[in-house]
Symmetry: C2
Subunit: 293 residues, 2 copies
């Protein structure tokens, strides 16, 4: 049982920015003897090989996971759920599985089903969510320093890691590559991430959709910053929103109610309330990101 | 009558980032013989003098505006309205007055009242709104290139510029310092700016106020970008929202309805509609700012 973050054989499914950077960091820290990358394009695998993020690449996922001690799923939220169902039956008993998706509840459920249906008795799953590298994508942007100081959330569940050994091993690994590790249940993770990540994406997109054709050219840096994440991949965000419907609905309801407070203050000309609402937001945000953030 | 953007004597009230940069640009282009700065702190005036943004500074606004051919009010939206009432009686007949505030309707009304009550027959007012320099503030950030390629909106009104000569002179001046000039009525300006500037500020603040204390530390770059303008000066934004209540209410209503569309799609699990809403936003935003913006 690994408690120092070391795994003999690691398989990374989808060695792009997140997965490739993990490969580089594991290598840099001497945390893996052999890293296999599973991809769906040979050219990306060749790049991952060339920069040393993996030791071998394969387009055949079944083949790629067979001998792994640790499997890390670094694809999209929708794909991770499918791959768990498809690949768990091909993994060896004793394997530890994790993923890096932005949703933990639905993925953990998919893992529980896969393990219960087709897994060996010693197989474990613990979801991970490193909060890193959201701006760029692809193996070209991978770097061994991506996780330096980044927060990584682990979302353990007794269903998929009964003795907690998977949690111990993954905590050691993420810490060894530089992460500050936090632990939340899958459901709490999804509720909290709905607030700071999934809701902002919906809000940014709704804000863009609000603006008329005549007004759009007048949008300057403020509008540009506020809507930046509306340029994200629609498919990815549909997957995430659909996988976190419950958490997102609660956040959306709260957002509507906060907006209504501003609306009421503006409608009634209540400058005092409006000043309090703006000051509250400024104080919270400055506290989180500093005055220049 | 100036049609080449030249004014013998310009007075800039509040020579900070916007006003100071205008002073520097007018000097660089040879568009003014003499520039007087009016401030409320001697140290800021001394800085404006030192970098050559003004030729003389005074803390006495009455004194500062007396001989001006062009007066440019570069203070806050609330202050501009008060200064129009206080200072118009001290200006010479024939003066052209403008401002750089983010609201044009309420300011233009204040100007019309001031001119009707205390102005000479040849006094004119045309509001300006250069869309530049929203990130930093103060004379230290002033630069003669601030207006290069920036959009400047002019909001003429027959009430305050009956023969249109003020509009002609200001259009020439803003173009001479590098601006792309657009013209809208004060009311249309306020409706359009509500959508791309005032609404985003309210939305960013409401988003911050939605987030719980536990979720806040998990906010990463996406959340940081989306809420950046929530760190703006609450006092300034209360002034702007109060001065543009009508435009802002219409935008807020539209935003609530766009959010409700996302909400309904998420609630009913309608991935197709959700994909359409996200794709629409991405396409509009990419069209405005490009893929990397």
């Amino acid at each position: 049982m690994s408690t120092d973050g070391f795994f003999e054989h690691v398989t990374i499914i989808g060695p792009g920015l997140i997965g490739g950077s993990l490969g580089l960091a594991l290598k840099a820290q001497g945390l893996a003897d052999r890293i296999v990358g599973v991809g769906h394009r040979q050219v990306s695998l060749d790049k991952a090989l060339a920069i040393g993020a993996i030791d071998a690449g394969t387009l055949d996922a079944t083949e790629g996971v067979r001998d792994a001690d640790l499997v890390v799923l670094c694809t999209s939220v929708g794909r991770i759920q499918r791959q768990l169902r498809e690949l768990v039956p091909c993994m060896k008993d004793g394997v530890l599985i994790t993923d890096v998706g932005s949703i933990k509840g639905a993925i953990c459920s998919a893992a529980a089903e896969a393990l219960a249906g087709h897994g060996g008795p010693g197989m474990r799953f613990v979801g991970s969510h490193p909060l890193a590298g959201s701006e760029q994508r692809g193996i070209d942007a991978a770097t061994d320093g991506l996780y330096d100081g980044a927060t990584c959330i682990l979302a353990p569940s007794a269903n998929t890691d009964p003795d907690g050994s998977g949690l111990v091993a993954l905590r050691a690994m993420w810490q060894a590559v530089g992460c500050v590790v936090k632990e939340f249940s899958p459901d709490l993770h999804d509720r909290l991430l709905a607030e700071v990540s999934h809701l902002p994406h919906v809000v940014a997109a709704a804000l863009v959709n609000t603006v008329s054709e005549d007004a759009l050219p007048l949008g300057a840096t403020g509008f540009q910053d506020t809507t930046r994440i509306a340029s994200g991949d629609p498919g990815l965000w549909v997957d995430i929103c659909m996988a976190n419907r419950e958490g997102l609905q609660a956040s959306l309801k709260q957002m509507q109610s906060e907006l209504a407070e501003f609306q009421a203050a503006i409608e009634s000309g209540n400058a005092e309330t409006l000043a309090r609402l703006f000051a509250e937001a400024k104080s919270v945000r400055d506290g989180r990101f500093g005055l220049e953030g």
